[in-house]
Amino acid sequence: MSQFTVEVLVTPRPGLLDPQGKAIHHALSSLGYDAVADVRVGKAIYLEVAAASPDDAVERAEEMCRKLLANPVTEDFHVTAAAADRALP
């Protein structure tokens, strides 16, 4: 068993309204950032987890997503064993 940092990205499901994204988009536009065409906001969750391998770590995290970290009704998730430069902040 070794330690891995897993990055879990939880994002609103396509088609669902994302009020935060809308507000940030609006704010960026009024700051003059016209190049931005759309904004969506989700969560980034970093888990420090003991596992046998990177794949095992990802698998464990995916199970946690299904169980707790993501709301299956409104959110999708994406799990990676994070690169070193994205280690647990």
């Binding site: 507000a23 704010a27 009024s30 700051l31």
Partner: protein, 233 residues
């Protein structure tokens, strides 16, 4: 005594502040966030609410409203500014006060009466209180957990810039009396010059006995009193 109350889309304590200033004998005036001038106001209140929905971070979007340049200029010129709740968050985001307000430790929105101790009665905002006086006033926020880096925090304490601290009925700033996880039980601070106050609890909701408390009214009276003295001087 002309007091500007800044209203952002999503402000919802503008009316409470308006009434507070009136009861304290001042003349409140709403200033819409898109305006660029404070119109000769002698003091500024940034009220509570959810400016721009508090999306992204509380106060993060509001600080870019056109009026905020005028508010910053006013602060630099030594004008008196009070930010309450969301207003405190806006002032921190705008850099007019140090630190930041994080999510409450409980992760829950919290709305209830709290007690806070007046740490200083020698500011323009607190002259109507006694030092050490315990106030009972409502608080109502999800992000009131005051944070500053160690150096800033040390400076705040050393310069006696913590104006209000959460406390229990006896006035002890104990951990149990801390509603949201704020460092050092901080409920309100001033800037280095002492002309900008930010606080999470709501003095604007403690101005009438029938609503449960009048402990907030002296804050507005102090403010109006300070303006009056400035005028005479």
């Amino acid at each position: 005594m002309n007091v500007a109350i800044i209203t952002f889309p999503g402000s919802n304590c503008d009316q409470d502040c308006h009434r507070s200033v009136e009861l304290a004998g001042g003349s409140p005036r709403y200033v819409w966030h898109r305006e660029t001038s404070l119109g000769g106001a002698e003091a500024v209140i940034v009220p509570g609410g959810f400016a721009h929905g508090d999306y992204l971070r509380p106060g993060a979007i509001a600080r870019f409203s056109p009026i905020m340049d005028a508010v910053a200029d006013f602060a630099r010129a030594g004008g008196l500014i009070v930010g309450i709740c969301n207003g405190f968050q806006v002032l921190c985001e705008a850099g007019l006060l140090p630190g930041a307000l994080l999510r409450n430790e409980s992760l829950c929105f919290q709305s209830h009466h709290c007690r806070m101790r007046v740490e200083r009665s020698d500011t323009a905002f607190t002259a109507g209180y006694r030092e050490g006086q315990v106030l009972g006033i409502p608080l109502s926020h999800a992000d009131g957990n005051y944070f500053a880096d160690p150096d800033t925090l040390a400076a705040l304490e050393a310069e006696r810039r913590v104006v209000f601290r959460y406390c229990d009925a006896r006035g002890d700033a104990s951990p149990d009396a801390n509603p949201n996880g704020s460092l050092n039980n901080i409920a309100g601070i001033v800037n280095a010059r002492g002309n900008v106050l930010g606080m999470m609890p709501h003095p604007d909701r403690a101005i009438e006995a029938v609503l449960g408390s009048v402990d907030g009214l002296p804050l507005f009276e102090s403010l109006i009193g300070a303006l009056a003295r400035a005028e005479v001087a």
